[in-house]
């Protein structure tokens, strides 16, 4: 899964953390695309976008 509650990816931006929180998940549960899996804003945003599109989520 893209979101794994056992995962502890580094997050350093409070903005990124909040963005995830506001969408009901923990940013550190994503795989970050930054240096050494740092979770970047783009990771959270693309995850939100995917979640937001029913067409791409499983029924």
């Amino acid at each position: 899964a893209r979101l794994d509650t056992a995962r502890r990816s580094p997050v350093v931006s409070p903005i990124v953390r909040r963005l995830a929180r506001e969408h009901g998940f923990d940013a550190s549960h994503l795989v970050g695309s930054g240096h050494d899996h740092l979770v970047m804003r783009r990771d959270v945003e693309s995850f939100i976008a995917e979640q937001g599109e029913p067409a791409t989520t499983e029924a």
């Binding site: 409070p14 903005i15 909040r18």
Partner: protein
Amino acid sequence: MSEQNFDIVVLGGGSAGYAAAIRAVELGLTAVVIEKDKLGGTCLHRGCIPTKALLHSAEVAEVARESAKYGVKTTFDGIDIAAVSAYREGIVSSKWKGLQGLLKARGITVVAGQGRLVGANTVAVGDDRYTGKNVVLATGSYSRSLPGLEIGGRVITSEQALELDFIPKKVAVLGGGVIGVEFASVWNSFGAEVTIIEALPHLVPNEEETISKQLERAFRKRGIEYSLGVRFQNVTQNDAGVVVTLENGTTYEAELLLVAVGRGPVTQNLGYEEAGITIDRGFVITNDRLETSVPGIYAAGDIVPGLQLAHRSYQQGIFIAEEIAGLAPIVVEDVNIPKITYCEPEVASVGYTEAKAAEKFGAEQVSSFEYNLAGNGKSSILGTSGSIKVVRVNEGPIVGVHMIGGRVGELIAEAQLAVNWEAYPEDIAPFIHAHPTQGEAFGEAVLKLAGKPLHAI
């Protein structure tokens, strides 16, 4: 008699009013600003800008006096108050010109005249009527006094203090809040004997206590006297000067008394109550979207209870325009708005004091660290002392930052983002501050709170 229609009618052309109008026209709305005096209001003409010019002259005087310490040979020959005034007026008038040009370029109609609310959506100026889909009240504030304390003669407020064409030999300042300590600081630098009278137990009593105490120590070192914790009783004046008496019988003689006990809202006889707007102790009461009890009428700036600051006025003005345009802007609580007191040393803060944070989050849930500027290279170079205190929620965000020291005002910008974005000390820790800066002191406090102090134990 004419009648004109706009999307937004703004009463008052100070920081709050003109910001609302600017943002409104950006959003495609039409706006009129009604101003009886000068565009820019208190801040530009009688507040922030002219006081900070005086404070800069004061800083220059201090630098000149202390220059030998830094190997610069100068003789300080006193203050040329006429030149100080020319400098201050020059700054104000050039900013005023800029502001007028800005509103013009934006296509905002500015009406010169005294306005009065005459209904839920109309402001009258003489015989002319300006009707808006929405009305924004932004009539600002005036220097208050105490009951029975009359302004006049040698008893003055900041308006007169700003424009004095002489330097008093000895001056008493009633009120140890922002405006009081700023003028005290200027006059001391200009060579006056100054005594501040504050009824509360501390100078700048809204600040973190440790900061107030350091300001008191710094002022004492500068030779600024103060009386704390005793209330003013009365003042008498004659040709020679004033005599101020406190409730405990202590008297102070001086050439002038500056009354700096706060600012009251300008809301009387403007038709507000008649229109059905809820007013409390003179302030316009709004909901948290800044709408008054009359739908469609908003209020912004110093007439809204809370911090009386220019940037809060801007922010509220912008907020209202965006709210009207349907953008649903986010609310910034007053506690998270930065405050700067521009005396020497400067005081700056944002967020909760440690005591307030303990109240809100629980004393066990809060930690703080105060980094002394003695450990900060740039502050030593500048010859200033002070400290930066950071308050965090344990395993949670930074919720308060409190500073004192020469030039620290600019450092509050970073703290403002940290607090408003709910940064943890751990989020800031990897980004070491540029060396050597005063900002490093904030960095050191944060590093300590993140469990990894660098130049601290």
